[in-house]
Amino acid sequence: MTGGEVDLITRVSDDLPALQIAVPLLSAAVCLLVRRARAAWTVAMVVAWGSFASACVLLSRVVESGTISYAEGGWTAPWGIELRIDLLNALVLLVVTFICAIVLTASLRSLDQEIWSENHHKFYALYLLCMTGLAGMTITGDAFNIFVFLEISSLSSYALIAQGTTRRALTSALQYLVMGTIGGTFILLGIGMIYMVTGTLNIADMALQLAALGPNRTVLVALACIGIGTGIKLAIFPLHIWLPNAYTYAPAIVTAFLAATATKVAYYVLVRFVFSVFGEPLAFGELRLDAVLMPLAIAAMFAGSFVAIFQDDIKRMLAYSSVAQIGYMVLGLSLASVSGLTGGLVHLFNHAIMKSGLFLVMAVVVLRMGSTRLDAFAGLGRRMPFTMAAFVVAGLSLVGVPLTVGFVSKWYLVMGSLEAGLWPVAVLILLSSLLALIYIWRVVEVAYFREAPDEAPDVEEAPISMLIPIWVLAGGTVFFGIFTSLSVGLASAAARMLLGVEL
C-alpha cells in the first residue's frame, strides 16, 4: 500500500462514528431514487452489514483504548455536538446494527407477500431512516441530539407500522404516534429544564455541572419528565398500551426489527440519563426512583406474561411477552447495583436476539399459513421442523432455561436482588418465568402434539433466506448462553463504569 492509501484508511476509520449516522441517512435517499425493489434491498443490505462491521471496529477500539470522542464538524465539546462512544453505547450499537442487518437479510420473501411491490423501495428507505435514528440516539453525546434522533426513528417507525396488511395497522400506528409524540415532548421538556440550570447540552458536561450543583427542584422535575418520556418509548408498564397493537398489526419484518431495537435504545437512553447525567445519588437517593420503578417492573413481569397466556394470536402473545421482558430490564436498572445493572444490560442484548428470532418465526408462519392464530400452528412441528425447532430454542431461552441466554440474564437479576437483601424479588423473578413457560408450552403443544386438520393445504419448510437468519439468532441464544464473555463481560464493565466502581 502506498502512503496515501494508508492515510486515507486511517482518515476514514477516524470518521467512523460520523459515518455510522451519515451513511444510512444518505442511503435512505438513494433507496428512494433507485425505485427498484431488489436494487433498494441491495443498497440497504450493504449499508446495514457495513454499519455492523463499523460497530464491531468501534467496539474493539473502545475496549482497547477507552472512550472515543468525535467532534462533529470540528467544533469541540461542550460547544459543538459530540459523538461519544463508551463501553455502554458501543454494546448497544453493536446489538442494534446486528439486528438491523440480520432482519433485513430475512426480509425479501416476507415483504413480497405483505407489501405491494411498488412500495418496497420506500419501505427500505424508511427502514434505513429508522436505523439512522436509532444509531444516532445511541452514539450521540448531546442531549438535544438524542431528541432529534429519537424523532427521526419514531416518525419512520410509525410509517413502517402503518404498512401492515389490515386496516388496524393504521389505527395502531396513529395510537403509537400520539403516545410516542407525548413521550418525545416530555423528553424535550426534561432536557430544557436541565439546560436551564446547567447552561449546557453536552451530556458529559451536564453531569459535571449537575454534580456541582447538588439537588434542586428543577433538576428533580427534569428527571421525572425524562423518566416519563423514555418510559413511554420503552413501554414500561402501565405506559405500554401502544405496544401490543403496534407489534401485532405491523408487517412481520417490522415487528422483528422494532421489537429488538426501538425499546432497547429507549432503555439505553433511560440508563444514560439516570446514571451518567443525574447520577445514582440524585436519582436513587433524592428521588427514590427505585421505589417507583421496581413495583412497576414487577407488575410488568406478571401482567405481561399473564395476559400473554390468554392470547389466541401468537404474534400478540409475543408482544405481551415483550412487555414482561422489558420489566426484567427495568428491574435491573432499579436495583442500581453492579449485578442488577449487569443483568438489565445483558438482558437488553439477550432479549434482542431471542425476540427478533421469535418474530422472524412469526414472519415465516404468516408467509406459509397466512395467519399467526394458534390454530394455524397445528401440526407445524412436523411440517416445518427447522422453523419450529428454532421457535422452541428461542422460547426456552425466553423462559430462562440453563444453557440459554435467558438463564444468564435472570441469574444476574436474582444475584442483584439477593445482594440487595430483596429475596422476595428473587422469588418473583422465578415465578414469573414459570408464566413464560406456560405461554410457550401452549404453542409447542399445538405445534407438536396436535394433528393438522385433514383439509389443511400442504406447507413447505421456510425459504432458506429466512431459515438462515432465524437459526443464526436461535443459535445465538444458545451460544451466548454458554460463552458469556462477550455479553456479560461488556455489560458488567459498562455497569461498573456507570456506577463508578473500579474495575
Binding site: 432529534v148 424523532e151 389505527t171 407525548i182 447540552l201
Partner: protein, 119 residues
C-alpha cells in the same frame, strides 16, 4: 431570567394541560392531532421563554448594547418546529387513510367496528 414574574411559564403549563386534555378527551382524530400540536407548542414556548432576557437584544455585538438574549434555545426550537410539522403531517396522513379504511374518524365508532371485526 425570572425578573418580572413567572407568567410565561404559567402560560406554558396552561397550554400543555389544554393539549393533553384535548388528546385524552376528544374522540375525533383530527381534534386529537390538534391537541397534540398544542402540547408540542407549549414546550416550544417554554424554550423561548427560557432564552429571553429582559431588556436583552438580539445577540449581535454593537456599540451601546451589553445585554443579550440567549439565542441557543431559540435556535433549538427551529428543529423542534420542524419535528412538530413532520409529526402533524404524518398524523394527518394516517387520519386520511383511516377515513378511507373505516369511513369515519370518530374513535368510538372505529372501536365499535374493530370489535365487530373480532367477533
Amino acid at each position: 431570567m425570572f425578573e418580572g414574574g413567572l407568567y410565561p411559564y404559567w402560560i406554558v403549563i396552561f397550554l400543555m394541560m389544554t393539549g393533553l386534555y384535548v388528546v385524552i378527551s376528544r374522540d375525533n382524530l383530527v381534534k386529537k392531532v390538534i391537541g397534540l400540536n398544542i402540547f408540542q407548542v407549549s414546550v416550544i414556548m417554554f424554550y423561548v421563554a427560557m432564552g429571553k432576557v429582559r431588556g436583552g437584544t438580539a445577540p449581535i455585538e454593537a456599540e451601546g448594547f451589553t445585554v443579550f438574549s440567549n439565542p441557543l434555545p431559540h435556535v433549538l426550537m427551529l428543529t423542534a418546529i420542524v419535528v412538530g410539522v413532520a409529526t402533524t403531517a404524518l398524523a394527518l396522513a394516517l387520519v386520511v387513510r383511516i377515513n378511507e379504511a373505516y369511513e369515519t374518524i370518530e374513535e368510538d365508532e372505529i372501536r365499535e367496528l374493530e370489535r365487530e371485526e373480532e367477533a
